[in-house]
Amino acid sequence: MSWRSTSVGFMVVGVVVALVIPVFATPRPVSQVNLASDQTLRMVIREPTSMDPNLAGDHSIWYVDQVFEGLYKILDDGNVRWLGAKSMEISKDGLTWTFRLNPAARWSDGKPVTASDYEWSWKRAMDPKLASDVASFYVAIKGADDYISGKLKDSSQIGIKALDAYTLQVTMAEPAPYFRAVAGLTYLYPVPRHVVEKYGDKWTEAGNIVGNGVFTMQSWKHDQEMVLVRNESYWGKRPTLQKVIFRIAPAGELCGADFRAYEANETDFAMCVPTADIDRVMHHPQMSKELTAELLSASQFLVFDTGRAPWNDARVRQAFNLAIDREKVVRALSRGLFKPTKVLVPPGIQGYDPGHALQMTAADAGRLLGEAGYAGGRGFPDFKLTAPDIRGNRTLAELLQQMWKETLGVTAQIEIMEPKAFSAWRSARKNQPFDMYTRGGWWSDYEDPTNWYNIFFVDGWLNSHWQHEQFLQLVKAAAPELNKAKRIALYDQADRILERESPTIGLWYFTDYWMRKPWLKDLQHTRILGFFWLRDAVILAH
């Protein structure tokens, strides 16, 4: 997903410390670090469309994540950090998942967080009457899809049961190892039933809202400001930060507003640098040290309609793939802050291996096209590259047009569409022909290969009309595979085929351009959707 195509970053995953130590000070061990007396973090955000974890599916999840917590969180090291749960057991057949909850966990009004809170919340998220788009994350659970579509009315038939106050049992429709990566997501955070029932739609307003996270909401003036304060009754280690002030900027101008406020020292942390300012920041003596490009589990790519000529010939797709100079593209679009890639899936996704990329060069591109019967581009049919009008796509399309012209002798037409119109067009490609398109990229929602290979090609979400029997068999077999090593091997084999056949062409991995003042320390980035982990952040004396 990519509702943040404007915000970007680099690849120093998890390595934060070196870059945020004040430039003029010598590094000191943490024990001797002077903390500022005012532990307030100021930053600019976009107005959340909802602070209800059962509804928040867009950028709102970043703020939901500060006020609520789920069963656990998986950070970039891949390890599980237990929060609402203490442990998880999966039955041998992979169908029954039992979560032992943390009895110390409390809602911010003091009531305990129980297994029935989870059960009620999860069923609420799937309720057709609530009509939440995060319901899609529950479909692995037995009965979920029928309940969502309204075929199943009785919610007690869904495979979610609170066995006792602190034991939650989840039954799957079929083995779904990917649920491990899903269960800790914001979409599965619990909501306080007693508060939701009391205030209805308005339960997320300041004054009403009750969470279970490390911060609580002190105020929320819509479209102006939201203030969070440390939850003093939090069960575990409380954050050092006492207060977080979110200044809310309008969506259209978020990046500019975020960066200008940072530059004027009104904020401590910015999540975006406008493309036009990157050069200046990179050559600025101080700001260049505050900028990091944080790697995201997200990539940009091209999709072919492999169901029709000339794109049904793998040699044509390979030729188009090899003719692209990714370094040049990335320089033009991000001043080199995105990370070029020749493969589709990002690091962290099983199956990822940069060695699977085509082992040929641009010089082979013309030869391949010639073998396909279009030597020097002669006789190649007219074709169109379609893309939504999201920042950078126009430049990308023009660069590709030029590269293909020079290397292959073919001329692409470019069609840039308004984003919603593009979505409608793209959905309609299910049964209709096209040549090739690129969208705003794809962001891993959870770090599992099903989020890429299976959604793209088995569910057919890309509409690439690619029906490679062996590939499909491999990924279909891999998805429910409980043996981890076997699962990795299957996806590895599938990825090899995917990259050789090139139904899609990977271009770059997105990064978040983060700017941190020298006094802001230990603010972690997660490559899944670019969460900011405020719990560990501290403000040094400055």
């Binding site: 600019v44 788009d133 969502i148 809310i248 900027a249």
Partner: protein
Amino acid sequence: MRGYVLRRLLALIPTLLLIYTIVFFLMRATPGGPWDETGTRPVFPEVKANLMKKYHLTDPLWKQYVDYLAGALHGDLGPSYRQRGRTVNEIIADFFPISLRLGLAAMAVAIGCGVPLGFLAAVRQDTRVDRGLMFLAVIGISTPSFVVATVLIVVFGVYLRWVPTSGWAGLLSRQALIPVFALALWPLAAVARYARSSMLDVIRADYVRTAKAKGLRELAIVVRHAAKNALIPVVTIAGVYLAFVVTGSFYVESVTGVPGLGRYLVLSISARDYPVIMGTTLLLAIIVMVVNLIVDLSYALLDPRIRYE
């Protein structure tokens, strides 16, 4: 007079109905719907179906047309699709007053500065003062407001740090300076130019020459005798700008971070948030029509020859 106002107000009804109809069908004819992903994850068909049902988009078109209209007549402009849990009425109640206040303040600045400067240029016609002021006016008219706002933010916010770079803390705060000025500049320049040219017409009139011949001071002539007549074209143009400015400028509000209604309308269009588009469009239409009526009525105040029956 009362009959005239009543007739004008009654004329609002068919106009609004026409606007409602056009907007209703244009929205639905635009490709892409509220739940077509824009770069986000796939929306599962069942989930989309639930959303369509929840917001009555599966009803036949005529029913949607009638139902929304019936709601709107009862003052219910519907729920927002994008901001879950918020209604269009709440959004308008929150954000329209801000746009209105900002717009009125900007117009006060525009008229308060534009009229005297225009008159000054007229009485000093073809001097350096005149040429200098009109040169500035051309710059003011031709510079888009978002450029003005951005430049002001960079200079006064980022470099000088006299004002915050964005945000809103009410009209009487430092945050309001940049949006008010950025919004005022264009109408200010336009008002100044109209004030100048209409004053030039008036000071050549016979009654002004008579006043001069009687030996009255120039200031007294301009303020007491010429100004009132010279204001009629200015009021017309100011009325047009007023309607523009109080309904909120998307650019100024976006760049300066003012939570106003103008910004909301544009965002709701790209999100295909039908009820918000409809609610705000209707509100803006009413404002434009009411302002026009006020402008027409003010002619009668300024010029006794104009009477409404």
